[in-house]
């Protein structure tokens, strides 16, 4: 059984009096341990698809199972819980909390899950940060870090909750080529460690990092 299975997803937005059909029936399957890229130009619906796959949004119709859970009927609090437990997000703009230290940023995920002592959260956060070579940076604020370091902190934050799937949105978009290459290398290592990654990008050079690519255009799978 695939880890992630979406069937005939549609998404319709209402913009004023006009219905915008962002997704027009999309099927996606990702197996555990896969590294998949979702590609498409802007306006293709790839962001919408990522939001639905990441449980930030719900599809207008269609079925979606993630790690054995039917999430297409979930809303609000239940969806927040699925995001917390099964999805790790990495954003183009890192989205670290500027006022929290590096380790506090990583601890946030576990904080929202609850059930972990502060000591336990810190221990897990530090273990991951060490793995990404950030052991000197525990107590720094994000603005004291380079772009590549920030993105690695964000990856640690996404992984600390041991999610079923890592959802990555244009991870190198805000980085220079050297830092971008390092971040992509980090993803390769994470993938080699057994994690499932879904990467959304419009950049073919980034997409070729993945095992396979899904192309989207006009709200449909193109190839």
């Amino acid at each position: 059984m695939p880890l992630l299975e979406a069937n005939d997803l549609t998404k319709v937005y209402r913009l004023g009096s006009v219905d915008v059909r962002a997704l027009r029936g999309v099927d996606v399957q990702v197996d555990a341990g896969e590294y998949v890229a979702i590609m498409g130009p802007s306006g293709s619906g790839k962001s919408t698809l990522m939001h639905i796959l990441g449980c930030l949004d719900s599809a207008t119709s269609g079925a979606y199972r993630l790690d054995g859970t039917d999430v297409s009927t979930l809303r609000g609090r239940a969806l927040a819980r699925v995001r917390n437990e099964k999805v790790g997000f990495v954003f183009q703009t890192f989205n670290l909390m500027p006022r929290l230290t590096v380790e506090e940023n990583v601890m946030l995920t576990l904080q929202y899950r609850g059930g972990y002592s502060r000591r336990e959260r810190r221990k897990r956060a530090r273990a991951l940060l060490e793995r990404f070579g950030l052991e000197e940076r525990f107590k720094h604020r994000p603005d004291q870090l380079s772009g590549g370091e920030r993105q690695r902190v964000a990856i640690a934050r996404a992984l600390v909750g041991e999610p079923a799937i890592l959802l990555v949105d244009e991870p190198t978009g805000n980085l220079d080529s050297k830092a971008g290459a390092e971040v992509l290398k980090t993803f390769r290592e994470v993938h080699a460690g057994g994690n499932t990654i879904v990467l959304v990008t419009h950049d073919p050079n980034v997409a070729q990092e993945a095992d396979r690519a899904i192309h989207i255009a006009d709200g449909r799978i193109a190839a």
Partner: protein
């Protein structure tokens, strides 16, 4: 995220934007300070009024006064003997609600000692009067039952009159003769000086008690009224401090029965402080209005600034939601932050209010104290204002759509 962590985040936010935080709290601080001051001063005044009443005889003292005859008196009114010495005796025997009864006769008479002379009040009464009004002699004694029975020509002088008549040596008055409207009286006692100040600008509220002399009521009747035993007033003491009301109604009923008409007025004692009380009430009211308005304005300012900060941090909330924060958790975070800030405002307001209270109390010479209760009220008020101000911004943050929030900016 537990509550403590939310509070710590809130405190951290406040620390990092100290200037903005203090500005946003200004209304809250002023409002809290104002309310602290009002409560402290009000507490001080209440205590002072109680002290005053205690000093003039305490709660449970009741005064009956002869009411002036109406322009066209009815037959019943004309038939009444009015307030008499007999009424006093009757009440003393029959009124179960009373522990002491002092009949009173009052007149303005000329005083003379050697070359010193002036006209002033004289009160004819019985020993009970001293008990009821808590009068204490500085030297000598008060009137005795024997004085009353013998209609003795003795007097007890108020401190000020003894001072005036005996050239600034009031204690020298003891044993001397004072002429009252041509009759000589031996001074058997000089009273302690009585003082009470409601505020530095007001005079001695008890000075009138220093400017009088007491003679046995029987002496007053034989010397000045031609044995007409009518009283000017009756001073009564209820059996307990809280029994004044019951005493009033019993006395009223008994006197009405004796007189056949209501030709008397009954008032509780301590009414002399009314004017001051009115003034302070107005004073308190103004402060209270200022406080409530400040708190209201303060709440709106906080809500506004918080709303702006929520908008500023939309992407942060979006990210938190992506990490798995539920709407309730976001809501709690925002409310916790504003509550921390409001608590800070409450503490600062309490400090400012205490300083203000101290200043006002010092310059107005009034007792006032910021008690634990007042501090509690002040903190609870500012926390409530903060909480209420935080509800709407928190609701806005909690109901953001994660997708829109992440896209924002």
């Amino acid at each position: 995220m537990n509550l403590f962590e939310s509070l710590m985040v809130g405190l951290d936010e406040a620390r990092r934007h100290l200037g903005q935080t203090l500005l946003s709290l200004l209304g809250l601080i002023l409002g809290t300070a104002s309310i602290v001051t009002v409560l402290a001063l009000f507490g001080g005044q209440t205590k002072q009024t109680q002290d005053y009443i205690a000093q003039v005889g305490g709660f449970g003292t009741v005064i009956v006064r002869d009411r002036e005859q109406s322009q066209q008196p009815t037959a019943r009114e004309l038939a009444s003997d009015r307030l008499t010495y007999g009424d006093a005796a009757y009440l003393k025997d029959r009124a179960t609600t009373l522990s002491a009864v002092a009949p009173g006769w009052f007149d303005q008479l000329p005083y003379r000692v050697g070359d010193v002379n002036f006209t002033g009040p004289v009160i004819g009464t019985t020993p009970d009067y001293a008990v009821i009004n808590d009068i204490r002699p500085m030297v000598g004694r008060y009137l005795s039952d024997l004085d009353v029975r013998r209609q003795s020509r003795v007097m007890v002088l108020g401190w000020k009159y003894a001072d005036s008549l005996f050239a600034g040596r009031p204690e020298r008055a003891l044993g001397q003769l004072v002429t009252l409207a041509g009759k000589n009286y031996r001074v058997v006692g000089v009273l302690e000086r009585e003082e009470f100040y409601f505020a530095v600008w007001s005079g001695n509220a008890l000075e009138y008690r220093n400017e009088r002399a007491y003679i046995p009521i029987t002496t007053a009747f034989t010397q000045y009224t031609g044995d007409d035993e009518r009283l000017t007033f009756l001073t009564l003491k209820a059996t307990s401090p809280t029994g004044a009301r019951a005493a009033e109604s019993q006395v009223s009923a008994m006197l009405h029965m004796l007189h056949g008409v209501e030709d008397f007025d009954i008032t509780p004692s301590g009414a002399g402080s009314d004017e001051d009380a009115q003034f302070f009430l107005l004073f308190n009211f103004i402060f209270l209005v200022v406080g409530v308005v400040s708190l209201f304005a303060g709440g709106i300012v906080i809500a506004n600034i918080l709303l702006a900060s929520v908008v500023e941090r939309v992407r942060e909330f979006g990210t938190r939601m992506a990490l798995g924060a539920s709407g309730a958790q976001i809501f709690a975070q925002v409310v916790a932050q504003v509550v921390v800030v409001a608590a800070l405002g409450g503490v600062l307001g309490l400090g400012l209010g205490s300083a203000l209270t101290g200043t006002v109390a010092h310059f107005m010479g009034m007792p006032a104290a910021v008690t634990g209760f007042i501090a509690g009220v002040a903190l609870a008020t500012s926390l409530s204002v903060g909480f209420l101000a935080g509800l709407y911004p928190a609701f806005r943050a909690a109901t953001l759509s994660p997708v829109d929030a992440l896209r924002y900016g």
